[in-house]
Subunit: 350 residues, 2 copies
């Protein structure tokens, strides 16, 4: 890899494509529709591969991400799992809806009212799912009753169409989450409104998605690359990690310490409950105990045994956020370089 | 601010310029040469203001940062405080050195040898400082003896010129650091080599820089914007914080919880020893207790008293890393919008 200037984010397509096929097979076996979240790779080329393998479309978190993905490839169908507010964003959403089948979520009446204003005179109504808080305590209506009330409001709002329920469930709570969603679904049906989609998701619980048969769709992002946090949760192995950071040792100031040229501007400060900021492949004895913006500090109990100028590959704690740090990633197949790829949806926070 | 699409990074030029003038005055009073680190703002327009007020030049951490800054304005003189390795980087460094007075640092013989190869036939020798570890335990030679040995190597290497000593000292250790550097300086002078520059730095200790009169230069980055970490260390007040994140409340799912549309892709996960991910201006009762990529979770003990659609301004824990997240910042003067500014050195990690 001496021809790659470091630090660099490498994506092994062989591994990423294998991860995509493996999880698609799982979803096919369990009759679960897969709608990958593009936040992990932000690359139209990988989204197209996911769709070619059987994904029904993609998930984006922001309107600007959806714009970048739709501009870069054939995304088929897009769900934006976010409360969209403001005339600028809703106007962009409207334009996007004229190009591709689109759905969004809401957990409050203000968002429903604003969306309705923006889509009142649209040719096709906008599909809106109700976001439900089933225990993760981020967004989402708090109770099945509130979910039903919001579903009724959506269905009665001009330009909108109630499309179902969406949740990002807490890990390991399939039974509890199922009860919540089942109750909401029944309450909504009692109003004479169908609930065609129930969308769940999350990488940590990816191999238990079948434990919630009520869900029709599963949204998942990190599975395409995997990362140190998913290895720690025993969801995958390091050999399943498609994204690595290539870094050069720039200093070995003492016997048990070395510095690499990748700091928080590449690896980010995300810990996800772990100790240290990444895993140096082939060196389980090393801890990345400290990051500054442009340095990563590698320490170990014994001799660090690294030389200035040597390269190492690091599996980051959290692959999604690393994808957001650089404008380009280097696509690889094993040790062969395929070329640079622009991260089309990088920095798209609007 | 309803005309600004959120999330947005706002920079109040009135505050930034006041911070620049105030610290320049301090340096002038103590006969300390100021060499601001551009990592905080990454904007040629603010570097030019720093130089106009009296800074002797700028500090960059990477060659690609220096390239972006030199391309964007008149930087006068650039110090790159990094061990530069690899033929691609050294070739870029050589090009840059033909445009502007340039100096770099090294803490090991490998870097010195590679720089010497790259500059052996240069018209002007490259100025190289020795990076010293005076207690921060990142890069830097470990002892004054090693500093002297490396200075001798630099001075005897074709194409290079020993320029002095550089350190990023631990906080509150002025006496200890002074002794370290004094010993190194004397050992180098005993070899008949002058030590024209002694470069120290760091924002947390900025108002104590005069306690180390041995230093000829001071490098400092965060002072231009300040941030929550410097408020916590009592280096400044919130009213001195020039960089804020403008965010919109997108969900108020319960009485004591609200979500904003700025998550770790804007605020970053940097904690710098603090609790929570930022300070909501005017709401000291609120904690930002959790970030996901596109959501920040605001909680408080009492009623959160925020409405969906409302905007808030957040002082981040660490301003430098927030500057690196978006392609543009919004320049302001008080509440007046001056316009968008491209963050020229954003994502420049090479």
């Amino acid at each position: 890899m001496t021809s790659i200037d470091t630090p660099a984010v490498l994506v092994d397509l062989n591994v990423a494509e294998r991860n995509i096929r493996k999880y698609q097979k799982y979803c096919d076996e369990h009759a679960l529709q897969l709608r990958p979240h593009i936040k992990t790779h932000k690359l139209p080329v990988l989204a197209e591969y996911q769709i070619a393998q059987g994904a029904i479309g993609i998930t984006c978190q922001k309107v600007s991400e959806a714009e970048a993905m739709v501009a870069g490839g054939d995304m088929r169908d897009v769900l934006i799992t976010y409360n969209i507010l403001g005339s600028e964003k809703i106007s962009k959403l409207r334009s996007l809806s004229e190009r591709i089948p689109l759905s969004v979520v809401s957990d409050n009446s203000k968002v429903v009212e604003d969306l309705s204003k923006g889509f009142a005179d649209a040719t096709e109504p906008l599909a809106v799912l109700v976001e439900c808080n089933t225990g993760a305590d981020r967004c989402g209506v708090s109770t099945p009753t509130m979910a039903a009330e919001l579903a009724v409001l959506i269905e009665s709002s001009s330009g909108l169409n109630f499309a179902g329920l969406m949740t990002y469930p807490p890990t390991g709570e399939a039974a509890k989450v199922t009860n919540w969603l089942k109750e909401a679904k029944e309450m909504i049906k009692a109003h004479g409104i169908e609930v065609p989609i129930i969308s769940s998701g999350g990488s940590p619980d990816m191999w238990n998605a079948h434990e919630m048969p009520l869900a029709t769709e599963y949204r998942i992002g990190t599975y395409v690359y995997n990362d140190r946090s998913l290895v720690a949760r025993e969801v995958c192995e390091f050999s399943d990690c498609a994204l690595t950071v290539l870094a050069t040792i720039v200093s070995v100031p003492s016997n048990n310490r070395a510095l690499v040229d990748a700091g928080s501007k590449v690896l980010t400060s995300d810990l996800l409950g772990l100790e240290g900021y990444g895993h140096v492949l082939g060196r389980p004895d090393i801890t990345i105990d400290q990051l500054s913006e442009e340095h990563g500090r590698l320490v170990c109990d014994g001799s660090i045994d690294l030389e200035v100028g040597q390269q190492v590959r690091i599996v980051p704690n959290h692959a999604c956020v690393v994808s957001n740090m650089l404008d380009h990633v280097v696509l690889m197949r094993g040790n062969e370089i395929e070329g640079d790829e622009k991260v089309a949806a990088r920095g798209k926070v609007w």
